[in-house]
Amino acid sequence: MVVLERHTTVASPAKSEENFAAFHSQAHFWGRLTIWGVIICTIAFPLYLSFGLGYHPGWSVILTGFLSYGAVVAIIWFVEPISYYPILGVSGTYLAFLTGNIGNMCLPSASIAQSIVKAEPGTRKGEVTATLAISAASIVNTTMLIVVILGGSYLINALPESIRASFSFVLPAIFGGVLAQFALKKPVWGIGAIALGIFAALGPVPPSFQTFICIAGTVIFAVILEKMKASEQAS
C-alpha cells in the first residue's frame, strides 16, 4: 500500500504536467475552430444582405461606418483580451470572448465558483474552475437568449401601440445610463464629452467629423487632465 501510494505521488506531477498541456492544446484547437466558424458566419451575414438580397449600400458607406465604429472599438479589441487574460487563462479567453458579457457575467460567475472551491485565479485549478463556470454561464445565457428572441417578437407584436412607441426612448436611456456609469468614475471627462457632443450636434461641425471630434477631443482632454494630475503629484 505504502509503496503504491508513493509511486502515484511521484509519478503524478510529470503526468499532470502532460495532461494539463494536453488540456491547453485541446483548448487552442476547439477554441480557434469555433471562433473561426463564427467569424465566417459573421462575414456571411452582411455579405448575404449585400449580394444575396441585393441591398449593397456601397463599399464607401461600409468603410465610413466601419471606420467611425472602429474609432470607438478598435482599441478595446486589444485592451480587453489583454487585460482579462490573467484572470481567464487560455480556455477562459476563448470562451469569454466568444460568448461576450465578460464584465457582467463571465468574470462574476468564475470568481464566485473559484471562491467556493478555494481556487486562486491564475493557477491551474483556478483556470479549470473558471472554464467550467463560464461554460455553464454561456450555455444558460445563450439558451435564454434564443427563447427570448423567439418569444420576444411575439411579445412585441402583442404590445399596444403606445407602449411600442415608447421603445423609441430606449436609445436616449441607454446613452444617458452608460455615460453616467462612466461619469461616476470620471465625472470631469463625462462633462467634457457631453459638452463636445452638444457642440458637435448643434455647432457648425460637418456630420462626418462629429464622431471624430468628440472622441479625439475627449481623449486629448483626458490626457491633458491626467498629465496635469501627474505633474501636480510630482511637485
Binding site: 488540456f23 441591398y55 472599438v73 482599441i75 479589441w77 463556470a133 428572441i149 452608460v178 457632443g197
Partner: protein, 236 residues
C-alpha cells in the same frame, strides 16, 4: 425603396444567426468536457465540478435577465435574427447600438426612422459584424501570445498600460458624449429621457453599494431603460 423592416427577418438571416448561437453552445459543451477530463489533475473532485457548473449557471441568470430587456429593445431597431447573432456573441447591447447607429448614419439615415431602408440596414449590419469581428480575430490569432504581450505592456513602470487605459476609457466616454449630444439635439423628449437616465443610473449604483445588492448592479441598465421608457410613455 425597400424598407429594412421587410428584410430584417429573412430566413437565411435566421439560419446564420442560429448557426452562430449553436456554435457558442457547442463550444461551451466541448470546454466542459475537456475541463472535466483534466479536473482531477488540478485537485477538483467530481462533487466540486458539479458545484462549479451549478454556480456558473445560477450566477448567469441575473445578467441574462438584464440582457433580455435590452435585447427586446434592440429587436425593434434591427430585427430578431440580427439581435440574436449580435447579442449571442461578444459585444454588449449598448455597443451594438453604437455600431448599428454609426452604420445607418454612414448610409445617411437614422436607426429609429420609420422609413429606415434596406440599404441602411445592410450598412448597419456590416458595421456591427466587422466591428465585432475585431475581438474574435484578436482572440483567435493572439491568445497564445497574449500572456507575453501582457507582461511586456504592464512592465516598465506600468505607465504604458495606464495611458492605454486612459485613452480607451476617454474614447468610450467621448463616443457616448457624441450620442448623448445627438439625442439632446433631437428634441425636448429625448433630452428629458437622457437627463433622467443620467440621474437614475448613479442612484441605482449608489443604492446597490449602500444596501450591498449586487444584483441591482447587474440590473442597472435594464432598469434605466425601463424608467426611460416609462417617462417617455407619459411624455407622448
Amino acid at each position: 425603396m425597400k424598407l429594412a423592416s421587410e428584410i430584417m427577418d429573412h430566413p437565411v438571416l435566421w439560419v446564420l444567426a442560429f448557426v452562430i448561437v449553436l456554435i457558442v453552445i457547442f463550444q461551451a459543451i466541448i470546454f466542459i468536457r475537456i475541463s472535466k477530463k483534466v479536473a482531477p489533475e488540478v485537485g477538483l473532485t467530481n462533487k466540486e465540478v458539479t458545484s462549479i457548473i451549478r454556480t456558473g449557471a445560477i450566477s448567469s441568470l441575473g445578467p441574462s435577465f438584464a440582457i433580455i430587456i435590452v435585447a427586446i429593445a434592440l429587436i425593434t431597431l434591427i430585427g430578431e435574427p440580427t439581435t440574436m447573432m449580435r447579442i449571442g456573441i461578444v459585444g454588449s447591447a449598448p455597443i451594438e447600438t453604437v455600431g448599428a447607429s454609426l452604420g445607418a448614419e454612414a448610409a445617411g439615415e437614422q436607426l429609429s426612422d420609420k422609413n429606415f431602408s434596406a440599404q441602411a440596414f445592410t450598412a448597419a449590419a456590416w458595421t456591427m459584424c466587422l466591428g465585432g469581428m475585431g475581438w474574435l480575430l484578436v482572440t483567435a490569432l493572439f491568445t497564445k501570445s497574449l500572456g507575453r504581450l501582457q507582461t511586456k505592456l504592464t512592465s516598465g513602470g506600468g505607465s504604458r498600460a495606464k495611458w492605454l487605459s486612459v485613452v480607451s476609457t476617454a474614447a468610450m466616454i467621448g463616443a457616448f458624449g457624441y450620442f448623448g449630444g445627438g439625442q439632446i439635439a433631437k428634441g425636448m423628449n429625448e433630452t428629458i429621457i437622457f437627463l433622467v437616465a443620467l440621474l437614475v443610473m448613479p442612484a441605482i449604483m449608489w443604492a446597490a453599494q449602500r444596501f450591498n445588492q449586487n444584483w441591482l448592479r447587474e440590473w442597472s441598465l435594464g432598469l434605466v431603460i425601463l424608467v426611460g421608457m416609462s417617462v417617455g410613455y407619459f411624455l407622448i
